[in-house]
Assembly symmetry: C2
Homo-oligomer: 364 residues x 2
């Protein structure tokens, strides 16, 4: 049977190996496996969220409130925007999917950074859009602007802090850049790790409110998967002008997040203490990765996230390192698929990081 021709060019996204897979492949006891590959919150999620979800497990039989008003009200209050400026997705991934299907087709172009979140390309390929990428590894807004003028993209993806490298764009420069983009180009600011960046350096801070107040052609993406510790619940959001939100809503399937996810995300916003503690722990532990990199003469990219990217030297091989660690039950992300001789490591709990520092030197 033949399928649409766009499918031929799509490569399935390779997620960080789940613990279950390592158990199966290597016969390692689950309790001996440490996964630092998917930038989950190593401190889990808020106890308040766990309690709230436990209380409503009976409701698994009931479809969620498809208006998602409780969650939207909480987000609107948090960000100082109106609920008409909000759309909820099954992870911010799904909002990316809506954006691509609403704005791109085989006659249009999308601009993104050389190294960035893989799903931008995967979704763009689903609709056959032309993908253009910068040459530089970090987001360089001058390069972005030159390529914008040359290619007239319908969508520009900016990931700040960037995944999988961890660096972040200066907020003032970013807003100046956006101001130069014409109204027909949709600019996406993917702030999946923004909570971390804000805590580390105020000059990286982009707020949904300033985006909505100033621009009709920009969407800000956020997620509950990282700092809020709800990666398994698949809840993200987009904040934008109501004209953008209305268009994306047409592509939103009903009931796109679960009843328990809706409750989890709503309650997570009430426990900012958990988030701030996670972030504080994260940057304390990150210092140890910086020391480790320095002690082992490895380059580490300055990170504004909950992960670090270790760029290996010539003679070292990121795929081999990741494989060797995997056989010891330590899962990290090899970035060779992104054209980098580097591994991305989620900053874990102190004990998880201890194990990384203990295991890794023997494989360098």
């Amino acid at each position: 049977m033949e399928f649409n021709k766009h499918l031929e060019s799509i490569k399935t996204y390779e997620a960080g190996k789940p613990i279950e897979l390592v158990v199966r492949e290597f016969g390692i006891d689950p309790k001996d496996i440490i996964k630092l590959a998917s930038n989950e919150n190593p401190f889990g999620c808020s106890q308040k969220v766990q309690d709230a979800v436990s209380k409503i497990v009976k409701n698994m039989a009931l479809y969620p409130d498809d208006s998602m008003l409780k969650l939207k009200n909480a987000l609107a209050k948090r960000f100082g925007v109106d609920i008409k400026n909000l759309i909820i997705g099954s992870g911010s991934d799904q909002v990316i999917e809506f954006i691509v299907h609403a704005k791109l087709d085989e006659d249009s172009t999308v601009l993104m950074n050389s190294v960035t979140f893989a799903m931008y390309e995967i979704y763009a390929k689903q609709v056959g859009a032309k993908i253009v990428r910068t040459a530089l590894q970090e987001h360089d807004l001058d390069e972005f602007y030159a390529m914008y003028q040359e290619h007239k993209p319908s969508v520009i993806f900016l990931c700040t802090p960037n995944n999988p490298t961890g660096d972040a764009i200066d907020a003032k420069s970013l807003l100046e850049f956006i101001a130069k983009i014409d109204d027909e180009t949709l600019v996406v600011i993917d702030g999946a790790y923004m909570e971390y960046a804000i805590a580390k350096d105020a000059s990286k801070k982009i707020t949904p409110k300033e985006i909505v107040d100033r621009f009709d052609n920009v969407i800000y993406l956020g997620t509950f998967s990282k700092a809020y510790g709800l990666g398994g619940m698949r809840v993200g959001y987009g904040v934008a002008s109501s004209s953008i939100i209305d268009a994306l809503y047409k592509l939103r399937p009903p009931f796109n997040i679960t009843t328990l996810s809706l409750e989890a995300a709503s309650v997570a916003l009430e426990d900012e203490g958990f988030v701030q503690e996670s972030i504080e722990n994260n940057f304390n532990e990150m210092k140890r990765y910086e020391e480790f990199a320095s002690a082992n003469s490895i380059e580490i990219i300055q990170s504004y996230t909950n992960f670090v990217t270790l760029c290996l030297n010539k003679g070292q091989n990121s795929s081999q390192l990741a494989d060797s660690l995997l056989k010891k039950g330590m899962i990290v992300r090899d970035l060779s698929g992104y054209g980098l001789n580097a591994v991305r490591v989620t900053v874990g709990t102190p004990a998880q990081n201890d194990r990384f520092f203990e295991l890794t030197p023997q494989f360098l």
Copy 2:
């Protein structure tokens, strides 16, 4: 900002009103609201599932095992198929979305019943496909075949039992029909309510195994949202030849169901007792709806599902009935949007149905 032109023709899906909305709109106490509008399982979900999910709420921070092997193995065993014949979606809705995006575009045609599940059309419009519908209210396979020959559709949707009418296609005739369809046309058998049909009448029984064994161009869809009582967890599946599954997999976003949903669905398959009891209760209570319809001279469509469709008489108005019931806290589905002067009512618990029988006559 301009968006892709297909969006202009898309109408957002109107889900059954959630209890939360009725609380807000009419100020009715949530405990006084009865929702018989979304064909959820009125008996909730299995206690075993609730217990299993409660045990792993900590894991909300962790992405699900994206291979979904535990659930796929359980489904494969249940249906006697290989895991390569399976794809899991966020509800069977999402598998419908994959099908549409894999097989349809603005140059192709999709054939569906005059009255059927609304999402087929909504997804088809997202890609600008030409939609053709039969004239008859029940699936008539002769009519389908004539229209297939005339329109050469790339996809044919068959919903059995059909939503929102409840009738089901004879299995033998259905298989004979499929055998006459050429290999390039993808036939979708949506069996969201099949567990109910099988319990009522073996002649309606379509099994995923016979589909996979006999046909390369057919996909069977099932869901955990109805008989398994997990509507809020968003888990459905497609069973088909590996060539179809491979193509759909290219459109599947990673982590498309939650960590808790994966556990819930896997455990739900271990508690067939709950499902069978739900179904038995359903058909016992359905008899009362048949008696009610007869006593009130209303036509009821013979139903193979967990809902009944009551076709009102001239002078009665389904929208008015649904509105009147809503103000009393009873939510049913008005089918006027489908061109029918009818209401669809989920068969509820005995107490819920009592309330329907008590309230409704005054509004007829």
